[in-house]
Each structure stands twice: as C-alpha cells, then as structure tokens.
Amino acid sequence: MTTPLLSLSALTKAYPGVVANDSVSLDIGAGQVHALLGENGAGKSTLVKMIYGLVKPDAGTMQMNGAPFTPSEPRAARAAGVGMVFQHFSLFDAMTVAENIALGMENAPKLGALSAQITAVSESYGLPLSPDRIVGDLSAGERQRVEIIRCLLQEPKLLIMDEPTSVLTPQEVEILFKTLRKLSAEGTAILYISHKLEEIRTLCDHATILRLGKVVGECTPRETTARDMAEMMVGKLLSTPTRAGQTAGDVMLTLSGLKAPAPNMFGISLKDISMELRAGEILGIGGVAGNGQDELLAALSGERPVAAGMLRFKDTDIGPLGPKARRAIGLLAAPEERMGHAAAPDMSLTENAMLTGATRMQLQNSGFLNWPAATRFAERVIAQFDVRTSGPAAAARSLSGGNLQKFVIGREVMQKPEVFVVNQPTWGVDASAAAAIRQALLDMASEGAALIVISQDLDELMEISDRFAALNEGRLTPPRAAQGITVEEIGLMMGGAHDMEVAHA
C-alpha cells in the first residue's frame, strides 16, 4: 500500500474532566473523500483542530506523506497544505471578501491581484462571488463560498470541511459536491464532517466513526445503510420519529396578505404572505437562509407586530399584539439563534425559563416572581428533554449548543402552545437529540397543536411535515402536501419558480 497523505496514530487529547480524543488513528489517502462521523462531543472538532494546528495532542503522532507532521499553529498547517472550512464561519463582517480571503492566506498577494484570482477560482469551480462585497451583506451560502475559495486559493492537499451543507439548497449542495469531486479527482484529499448520512453516502469513499473520543468503526459509506452508520455513531438503536394518525382540525392561524418592511438594511421584507394553519398539522417551511425566515418568525411571534387584519389566531385579530399577549393566548415561538435571542447567555436556566414561561406556567403572581416554581419548571424541562447540565442554576452559556437547543425548545413545548412556530429546531444538535426534538414536535401535533417548522434541513422537513412551503426573498410559495414531493420540486420552490409548481401538481 502506498504511503497515505495524512496518517494519524494513537492521537490523544484530554481536557480537564474529559478525554476528547482517546488514541484515535486514521489514514487519509491522496484524493480520498474521507467522512468523519460522530455525535456532538464525540471529539470530531478536537481531532480536526489538532490536524489544523489549533490544539496540540497530548500523545500520539501525525505523519504527512510519511514525514512527521506537528503543526504548532494553523499557519504551519496551512503551509503544509491543510485547508479548513469552519462550521461557524471564521469571517470578519466589516471587511470585504478579498480582505477576508487575504487574512486566511500565507503570502497573500496585493488585493488587486488577489481579486482577479478570486474571480478566476470562483468561476472555474462554479462558485460565483464578487471580491469587493462586504461580508456582512452576504448570505450564509455566499459566506461559505468565501471560506471555500480562501482554502482553494492555497491549493491544499487536504481540505477539512466541517458541516458544509447545512446552509445550502439542494442545488447548491450539488454544486458543492461537483466542486469537491473535481478537487478529489485532482488529487486533493477531503476530510468531510457531517451529520447528514445520505450526503456522506453519495460523496464519501470512506468513513471513520467516532464515539466518546474513540474510533468505534470504519466503513465504506456506499455499501452501508444510513441507519447502520447512525447506530454506530450513537451506539444504540435509533427510534425513527413516528406519529399517530392525523386529522386536520380547525383553522388555528390565518395569514392574509401579511406584509412587513425589512427590519434593517440587511433584512428581507415579507411580501404578501397568505396561508392557513390547521390544528394537528405541521407546516414545514424551507428556503435558503436569509430569505425571510427570521423576519417571518418575528412577525408570527409578535417581536415585530404587523398591521391589523393580517394575522388571525382562531377568530381573534392578533396582528398588532406583542409577544407577551400572543403567548398568553397560546401562540409560542422559538427563534433560531439560541444565544442572545432564545436564551440570555449569562442568566441561569431558571431565569431563562422564567423569561418565556412566566405567564403560561403561572410563575408570577401580581408582579412578584415565583422562583421556586420557575426552578421546578426548569428542572422538568431538563429532565424531560435530557438536557445535560449541572442543574437549573447553570448559566445558559455553559451549555453546549445542542443541549441549550434542547432546553429552549423544551421550554416552549412544555408550555403546551396551541400554535407553535420554531426556526431551525435541530440546528447543531446531534442525531439522537434531533430525533427526540422531532418526536416532541410530532407529539405536539398529534395532541392537536398546530406547528410551523422553519428549517434549512430538508430531510428534517420531509420527515415531519404534513405540508411544505418555501420562502424565497420574503415570498411564501403556496403550501403543498409533503407526501411524495421530490427534491427537484423542492429546489424549484426554493429557487422561486412559482409557476413551475402548477405544472408539477
């Protein structure tokens, strides 16, 4: 066998109280697309951070092309030909695309020459991007392109991609995969981290599965079912979310010609959205990030009230009502951003539970707060949604993203809303927790609540929705039954081809 491009042997890294990587070994050959699978906390990011020189291993060795490879800092890793596209984009909002790319390069050329290179690479890999734009104005998909092009310009031998497709449309995913396949054919190895097992099955040549810091298995994804891989990941049998038989009930929420101006210069205005939501159903709303998801959630939750007559809850006009009044009558919402929007990072879980639960859970009495009751409420959320934390007194900031997500979703679910609007319910949550959250949403629907689930994850929407609609530049396509809808049709809905749908219906 030829020498692998990168060979890790017995890498170990321990943090106080937890062994993040325990004797991890794996080989990546040139041109190989290698998947790294594992739940949150399985040690994937620690492992790639060691390869990228951000973290030093406690024990074990790395070899690049047979020679010892010990990057002391990312600069050294980049010089050795390792590029990394981060999950949480490491971009600078106030700077231009070209400046951002220059920052990630060794020996960056002058900005003018760099702009020409960016344009050339973006065209040859089918990733359109203008070098002079300010990154703060870009959509999530475009931001990812900035990161990818930043790596490609350095002609890496190994490209590490951390959850790259979560913000893309199916068509964009196709483009990305074409790019990655082209790179792989040119001899670039790709280390691909993802929760989405179907993607790994289409793209990757080989997969290494991590659990609790240890390698628990390897497989060839094309020959393994997604279910088997998922079970290797979590180490137990997964329960697929199921739901009892559904009957569409009364109309709970009516949007008639809902309009809202853009909240700021980077926002999207909502344009003439009309639909009905019935008790017991889940309406899935897809769309590329930045097409009005946040604005729609704000309009429905009451953060940004709309004009009278645009929004009805049962028979009540609730357009001008604020979030508190809407909560009181049974319309609850959970926004996408956990830190700072759904939860106050520096406050305890009890305090965060009080913040949205005060009215519906009777946590206050003529203006006085009933803290013991709030603590009990937080404890119930923690127990029921399996939130891993030291207790209700822990600060929201101290929870991992997935655990905090379980908490903020659970907090709303336990308040038994009649209409529940949620944006990205399982963003950054591991497979088993995501399944639990989806199950909770399905259970709510079978108990008669009406749900709107806004998500970037189409698999998730297909799994739980009764009807599907897409947001595109602030417009909502007419909802259609989710049963039997194809990926191509979804792509067209997300791309804004409204009339195509009639032809498909």
């Binding site: 600078f92 700077m95 920052l103």
Partner: protein
C-alpha cells in the same frame, strides 16, 4: 475689546501646537481600539509621559531625550494595562479608569521636585528658504520636529491600516477575535503591542504639553485632553484622518478662545474655556451619525478556550 490684537498668522500657526498633544493621544488610542481594546487610561498615560519627559529633559538638558523617555514611560504604564486585561482578563473599563487614577497620582509624586522649573527648549525645524515665505512659512514651516512627527504618525497609521498586511491582521483581531484566533493570529500579542503603541503615543502627547505647549510642570496639567482624545476616536468613526481633522478643530478652538480672552471679549471666561470641548464634540457627533464603524470586538475580553 480689540480683535486687531490677534495676529492671524501666529493664530493659525498656533493650531498645530494646540492640536499636537491631542493628535498623539487620539491616534494611539485609535490603534488600540482598532484591535478591540478600550483603554480608558489615556489621561493617566499622558500625564505620566508629561512628567517622565519633563524630568528627563531637565536632567539631560535634551528635549528629544525627554520625548523618548515620555514614550517609554507611557508604554511602561500601558504594559500594566496590557497585563491586567490580556493576561489576567480583567475588565477593560475598570482597568483603564484605574490606570488614569494611578497615573495622575504617580505623576504628582514624581513631579514634586520639578514644579516651577523651566525645561530646555526644543528648536524649530529649519526649512531654510521655505520658512521665509510670507504667511505660509510661519504657518507651516516654523514648528518643532514633534509637530511633524505627529502628522507623520497619522499618515503612517492610516497607510498601515489600509494597505499593509499587519494592518489587516490588526483590524481582523478587533473585528472578530474568535475568528482571528481560529485563523492562527496571536490575538493577545497583537493587542498587547497595540496597547504599548498607544501608551507611547499618549506619553509623547503628554510631554508635548509639559515641554513645549505650557512649558512647565504642574500637577494634573493634561486637563482632560486624554478624555477628549477618547471621545475624538469614537466620533471620528475610527478613521485616522477624521481624528486629525477633529484635533485641528479642537486646537483651533482652543487657540481662538485664548485669543478672544486676550482681546477681552465680553463673554465670561468659563464659556470660552469650555467652548472647544463642546463644539468639537457637537461637530463630531454630526459627522458620526452614519453607520457605526466600531470594531466588532471592542471592549470584549478574549479567552482562547471557546
């Protein structure tokens, strides 16, 4: 009242002298804030620079050595701030205020024996025939080296921030320290160096007051210039040339109110004395109404664990 007593040429030439301490302090603070650190200790570093510069200039009889000592003194004091905020992760606002209080007290202690002394004079730069041009000569070509140095530093800071890779990294650290860390830049090192640069600049600015503008040593003689410098950076939207503009405006107004006082204008002295502060801030507030340009990580503590 006799406005004819005001010599317009000397009056305009005085702009530069009055503005120079502010230019140094503000441009240093601008660099510090561009890296995402808010150092409220400018006043303290200025007064420390003022006494260090004064003492060394008197002892060595060399004003230039005095300015070098002032830069060193300001930088040393700022190192304390860098240690507190970057190593001990202390709160920047509290540390900065402490630095100002410490600087004011410490400089008074150091300056005990220097009160009432006269420092050696720093000669003006000799531009030869340029200095003999009527009006333009006295206005632009009759100053000491430090005035030109201040102008040079502003241009250099602007060019470095805009065109050089070092400037790009510096802005990146201030914009998003987590992302900069992920790319492998040494956030704390960049910040510590910027803080020391800011300290050195503030020190020189302070020494310019004690060695040239006044020139003598009195306690608390910086009289709030450090605070104006802080405000100037914010209202100049963190742009080097706006800082320069604001400093000249302030310097001009100081000059004007002194001249008006001298000419015996019938406005109470207190109003005249406060006018430069008020007018400078009002003008800059109007200039900075557009989108906030504050560095994204300004004032936030960086810890590499996240």
């Amino acid at each position: 009242m006799d406005l004819s007593a005001i010599n317009p040429v000397l009056f305009i030439a005085g702009f530069f002298v009055a503005a120079t301490p502010l230019i140094f302090a503000a441009i240093g603070e601008l660099v510090v804030e561009k890296t995402g650190v808010l150092n409220l200790g400018v006043e303290g570093m200025m007064i420390t620079g003022a006494i260090c510069g004064f003492a060394v200039a008197v002892e060595t009889e060399s004003p230039l050595l005095g300015f070098a000592a002032a830069a060193l003194g300001g930088a040393l004091l700022s190192t304390l701030f860098a240690f507190l905020t970057q190593v001990m992760l202390a709160n920047q606002v509290a540390s900065g205020l402490a630095l100002t209080l410490f600087g004011l007290g410490f400089s008074a202690l150091l300056g005990q024996s220097y009160a009432g002394m006269k420092p050696p004079r720093l000669e003006d730069v000799d531009f030869g025939p340029l200095g003999d041009i009527p009006v333009i000569g006295p206005v632009f070509f009759s100053h000491d080296i430090i005035v030109y140095l201040g102008l040079g530093i502003v241009i250099a800071v602007w060019a470095v921030l805009k065109f050089s890779r070092a400037g790009l990294i510096l802005r990146a650290v201030g914009e998003n320290h987590d992302a900069a860390h992920a790319l492998g830049f040494k956030v704390k090192r960049v910040r510590a160096l910027a803080i020391m640069f800011g300290g050195a600049c503030a020190g020189v600015g302070g020494a310019y007051i004690s060695l040239i503008r006044v020139p003598q040593w009195t306690e608390g003689m910086t009289a709030g210039i450090g605070w104006i410098a802080l405000a100037l950076v914010v209202f100049a939207s963190w742009r080097a040339f706006r800082v320069l503009l604001g400093a000249y405006l302030f310097g001009g107004l100081v000059q004007l109110q002194l001249n008006l006082q001298g000419a015996g204008v019938a406005i109470p002295v207190e109003y005249l004395a406060m006018s430069p502060y008020v007018i400078t801030i009002v003008v800059l507030v109007f200039l900075s109404r557009s989108r906030s340009a504050a560095p994204g990580s300004l004032g936030r503590i960086f810890h590499a664990s996240s």
